[in-house]
């Protein structure tokens, strides 16, 4: 595929707002996880006993008055994330070059604003029961809430869609942007993702017995499950000359496991297909990848099959790690957040290890590293795998 230039990128997670907070915490191996203090909406119900990656400051960051109809936790986090690291300036520059109707908006999520729908159900009134007036805003109670909000907040008027393929959502946005631009339907694309903590996520994953009572330990022999987090992030992509400098999207690969809704293919076939396809589309050999950000949720099954797939494709020199011990699993935002981490690694040569993990699982190949490292790299990759066996891998480059 023709490479795309990444004019700006950003992530906001439990580690803080924006890239410098992410980079510092990754370098210093400082986790953003805390004991769960996210209140249950049901009366008299204690929070789940687990650890979460909560973004500080959302409660004190209302949307501007002009966007008040979009007010909810998820759109607040989208807004907060959107206004970091020069993203607004990059959007303005692209609008000046192409016009707002030539810039696509593609946003990934798993839960959209369902936290607002949950809050409405906790405060139903009347007969038949209906939403409280302050939450009777249709724009919130639909899966398209984040995509529509980002378009409204930026004024961009190109093709606008919300992608919801669970935890691969905000990786697939890069693939869709590449296709849209190649097909001539847009000249640039604002891609990203946002997901916030809510009851559906915490108690839903709890019902699947996938939530750890302790901070998650990806690829550790003693791992006991995932820690959930919330996050938002964005990137502005634009067509570029073949010899362009800077950071580039070089390839994408997508696949399906065709196996089960909530457990991965036992041999990791879908994961292998996605990674191999991304490498092929980028025209890059597996040995050239300097850093791979793994999906690495810290559930026993997911890490096992991802380790198998990585060992089958990559030489031992690869530095691969999961950063979920820093941020928790940010679900539909994991793709954009961990793409930002891969881009930071390209930018700085600081390669994150795997926080909290001490005893490597016997199934781990030599690629999976627990310690941080430093090395200049030219190519980085990110894996994002979701429910429904939905996989996406991305290859980024520093020209």
């Amino acid at each position: 595929m023709p490479p795309l230039a990444i004019r700006a990128y950003t992530a906001s997670t439990a580690l803080g707002h924006g890239l410098s907070a992410q980079a510092a915490a990754l370098r210093e191996r400082r986790s953003g996880l805390r004991r769960n203090d996210f209140a249950a909406l049901a009366a008299d119900q204690a929070p789940l006993d687990c650890w979460i990656g909560r973004v500080d400051g959302i409660e004190n960051s209302p949307l501007p008055a002009a966007l008040a109809e979009w007010e909810c936790r998820n759109n607040r986090l989208a807004w907060l994330s959107l206004n970091q690291d020069g993203v607004p300036a990059a959007i303005a520059a692209a609008v000046a070059r192409y016009g707002a109707d030539r810039i696509a908006v593609i946003v990934g999520t798993s839960t959209s604003s369902i936290g607002a729908t949950e809050a409405a159900y906790a405060r139903l009134h009347g007969e038949p029961p209906r939403f409280p007036d302050d939450l009777a805003r249709p724009t919130l109670h639909t899966p398209h809430s984040p995509g529509a909000f980002v378009a409204a907040a930026t004024g961009l008027r190109g093709p606008c869609v919300t992608v919801a393929t669970a935890c691969s959502s905000s990786a697939k946005v890069f693939a869709q942007a590449a296709r849209l631009i190649a097909a001539g339907l847009a000249d640039a694309a604002l891609v990203g993702g946002v997901d916030t903590l809510c009851g559906s996520v915490l108690f839903g994953f709890n019902s699947l017995q996938l939530v750890s009572p302790d901070p998650c330990r990806p690829f550790d022999a003693q791992r006991t499950g995932l820690s959930l987090g919330e996050a938002g992030g964005f990137a502005l992509l634009e067509r570029c000359d073949a010899d362009a400098g800077g950071l580039l999207l070089r390839g994408y690969g997508e696949s399906s496991d065709a196996h089960h809704m909530s457990t991965p293919h036992p041999q990791g076939l879908g994961a292998r297909l996605a990674m191999a396809d991304a490498l092929a589309r980028a025209g890059v050999d597996a040995a050239a990848i300097g850093y791979l950000n793994l999906h690495g949720t810290a559930t026993p099954a997911n890490d096992e099959v991802e380790a198998l797939a990585v060992a089958a494709l990559f030489p031992p020199q690869l530095h691969a790690s999961s950063t979920k011990g820093w941020t928790g699993h940010t679900l539909g935002a994991a793709g954009i957040v961990e793409s930002a981490f891969a881009l930071l690694a390209l930018d700085s040569g600081e390669l994150p290890g795997t926080l909290n993990s001490r005893e490597p699982d016997p199934g781990n190949g030599p690629q999976i590293r627990f310690d941080n490292a430093r090395a200049p790299i030219r190519y980085a990759m990110n894996n994002s795998f979701g429910f429904g066996g939905n996989n996406c891998s991305l290859v980024f480059a520093r020209a």
Partner: protein, 269 residues
């Protein structure tokens, strides 16, 4: 962009197969006949029964998943394409509101009682997931939403995949009825699904579809019979395309968001 003439840059695909399901119109033959003036069938089944799911899952599957799988399979059969070989795009405005209602009501009363099966069926890509599992497709699948612009955005994604080199792509749109207190905020009526298999190469007997983005038309077209019948469903904005497919050569505009439309021209070339 001027909508008067088809631009040279229009994206093109062959409509190789069509699937359709609505109560009383349980397949594309019935829907096409209805669009052209026939009656709906009184005795048609009240719920689709997609044969690719095992019998117990077929009964338990959410209606939205059942309708999406039914029309997807029918479109592949009509196109004589192996479903496992196609990448797929599934579009729904609201997903399954009965499950969202269940999740939110349970969270408000007894959150630790959430059913794991209902939770994994609550993801927006439930239909896409069951499809790939049911037909054994390891090809890419995606799940999108964009309210009124949803089907046009799904069509854009499918056409972009063809332009990027896919041989054929499956596109399915579906929505169920509103449910519970949420249904009053996100209204939708009935159960509706429609699907297309779109091929990159022209094919004899398959209408050619040309698509480009442009401004909204000055005046809305008179609704066809399929659109008039199911206009209350959240996926109804896709129906003008299916009315046009029934009628043959046509030009229409589907809402694409941002005040713009996806212009579509169907030709029998």
């Amino acid at each position: 962009m001027n909508d008067a003439a088809r631009p040279a840059t229009a994206l093109t695909a062959a409509v190789e197969g069509i699937g359709y399901w609505s109560r009383g119109l349980p397949d594309w033959n019935a829907a096409r006949a209805y669009a052209l003036g026939a009656d709906a069938a009184d005795a048609a089944p009240a719920r689709p029964s997609p044969q690719l799911l095992p019998a117990n899952e077929r009964r338990r599957a959410p209606e939205t998943v059942a309708v999406a799988l039914e029309v997807a399979a029918a479109a592949c059969a009509a196109a004589a394409r192996d479903p496992a070989a196609l990448s797929s795009v599934f579009v729904s405005s609201h997903g399954d509101m009965a499950i969202t209602d269940y999740m939110c009501a349970t969270l408000a009363s007894d959150p630790r009682a959430i059913s794991p099966t209902r939770f994994h069926n609550s993801v927006h890509n439930a239909a896409a997931g069951y499809w790939t599992i049911g037909v054994g497709a390891m090809r890419p699948a995606t799940a999108l939403s964009a309210l009124q612009a949803g089907f046009a955005q799904g069509l854009i994604e499918a056409l972009a995949q063809l332009a990027a080199g896919e041989d054929a792509v499956l596109l399915a749109g579906y929505d169920g009825a509103g449910y519970g207190p949420l249904g009053a905020i996100a209204p939708s009526e009935g159960l509706l699904g429609a699907a297309l298999v779109l091929g990159r190469a022209p094919r004899a007997g398959a209408p050619a579809l040309h698509a480009w983005l442009g401004p909204a038309p000055a005046a809305a077209a008179a609704p066809g019979r399929l659109h008039a019948r199911d206009h209350g469903n959240a996926s109804a904005p896709m129906l003008p395309l299916f009315d046009a497919l029934a009628a043959g050569d046509a030009r229409l505009a589907l809402p694409a968001g941002g005040g713009r439309c996806l212009w579509l021209e169907l030709t029998d070339d």
